[in-house]
Amino acid sequence: MPAEASRTIPLDATARMTSPTAAPKVSIRDVCRTFSVNRQVFHALADINLEIRAGEFLCLVGPSGCGKSTLLRMLGGLDQPSSGTVSVRVEDSRRPTSAIVFQQESVFPWLTVERNATYAVRMLGLWNGAESQRRVDYFLERCGLSKFRDFYPHQLSGGMKQRLSIVRAFSAHPELLLMDEPFAALDEQNKLLLQQEVDRLWEDNKISVLFITHSLDEAILLGDRVAVMSAAPGRIKETIDIPFERPRNLLTLKSTPEFGQLYGRLWDLLGEEVMAARKDR
């Protein structure tokens, strides 16, 4: 461990760096990924090139089966490219490089809400008493789980469990947050509330985010940029800047003509690919 680095991790430790000249947080270069399925080679990802800037919120949309999750798993260290390189620039080697919020339920059923939330920090030996406690308390509070800290996951609703996995990921204080359709299984009200929470948590904590979604509303609401992937084998078809000021509100955004234009453009890009993906089947 580097001795000069401070042990304390204030909530706003990393200044947001969005200047285009800064080195990218994530560089994905010429990445291909093939799987062999029943002795046949299946090309999941073909020639992916993508960068995520430091402090950027990048949304990734694409037809189902296009390899979005495979790409996210590579950034999370759970999969390797068949060719090409994936690199994440590490600024503080003590922090986890990334933390994933999975689409499926992933909180540990044998740990209480609080122990789940503090899991990464405890296991990585980063627990430093009051400061760590303050961070966890803060995230539990923000996600409305303070009252449930001694509950076990089986005593929580589906939405609460998903909020807990978001708390776990934020409490880990990763340099890169990877969210794989985190709200896909949630009801509309919970989804709206959690979108706001994630937006606020990201703004306050200045980390880089890769956010996979199939909702174009969600992508425009949350993203600094939206990358559109093609049908399998997945490629980055186009990346679109989302120019709206923050904080954003979905209802007011939706009433602007710019929103309609962006939505239309994304839908045109995605629609072709959804049709292409269907034809292949």
């Binding site: 986890p96 740990l111 990464a120 990585l124 076990y152």
Partner: protein, 249 residues
């Protein structure tokens, strides 16, 4: 226990008592519950009774621990290491279907009539059940929990302790619950043929001298022992797995 749970045993006892008292059944084979209870009251005053009970409980516990700990360890190893799984699993699959009681002559050949032979037969039965259920427990852990740990780059041994072990605990407890019954069967069988004291021996001996009431007392005590043992495992499960309360995962 709810009072409804007591209804069926009480009815059985009342009917049994009635038909025995009225002479409707052969009391040489089916002595009245009151007669069995009287015999029980008489026996608890003897040293022999407490010796038999103590000897059997010790054999059960020692054999259980000797079998359960390595069984769970082998199950964990098989679950976590594909190499170990490939090497050990065929052996387990071949030996498991063998009725363990068939090994008793061999075990008595090796250990004689000593206590070790009783520990060994109980331990062997418990070992296989624990190995298989623990292995199943590890297999049933959702892979996503390992993904969470791997993504956060948690060191391997901590993953074993905080993911594999707690994740396998439900399987381990299923094994323990099943093993209590098997352990009792094997113990009593071994005591029938290869012991000079213990509850199993007392039942067998009662048969040879036709002390039917004493035989029934032995049966009741073994039933109570099995019930107590299973309840203890259940208590441990509720204590150590609070997260299972009110439903699984």
């Amino acid at each position: 226990m709810k009072y409804q749970s007591w209804i069926s045993p009480v009815i059985v006892l009342v009917v049994w008592q009635a038909v025995a008292s009225l002479g409707l059944v052969e009391t040489r084979f089916f002595p009245a519950p009151s007669a069995i209870f009287a015999k029980f009251a008489e026996m608890v005053m003897t040293e022999q009774f407490w010796l038999d009970l103590r000897v059997s409980v010790v054999r059960l516990m020692v054999g259980f621990v000797i079998g359960a700990v390595p069984g769970a360890a082998v199950g964990l190893l098989m679950g976590l290491s594909p190499l170990a799984e490939r090497m050990i699993s065929p052996l387990i699959s071949m030996l498991y279907p063998l009725p363990k009681i068939a090994l008793l002559p061999l075990i008595m050949l090796i250990f004689g009539l000593s206590e070790a032979s009783k520990y060994a037969i109980v331990a062997i039965g418990v070992f296989f059940i624990m190995a298989i259920n623990t292995y199943g427990g590890v297999q049933n852990i959702n892979k996503i929990y390992f993904d969470v740990a791997k993504n956060l780059k948690i060191p391997g041994w901590k993953v074993y302790l905080t993911v594999a072990l707690p994740g396998a605990l439900p399987g381990i407890f299923t094994g323990l619950r099943l093993a209590t019954g098997v352990a009792l069967i094997l113990l009593v069988s071994a005591e029938f043929v290869g012991a000079t004291e213990g509850l199993g021996f007392r039942i067998w001996w009662s048969w040879t001298v036709f002390w039917v009431e004493q035989m029934y007392v032995g049966l009741v005590i073994i039933a109570l022992l099995g019930f107590t043992f299973a309840s203890l495992v259940g208590l441990c499960e509720r204590t150590f797995l609070p997260w299972r309360r009110g439903g699984g995962n």
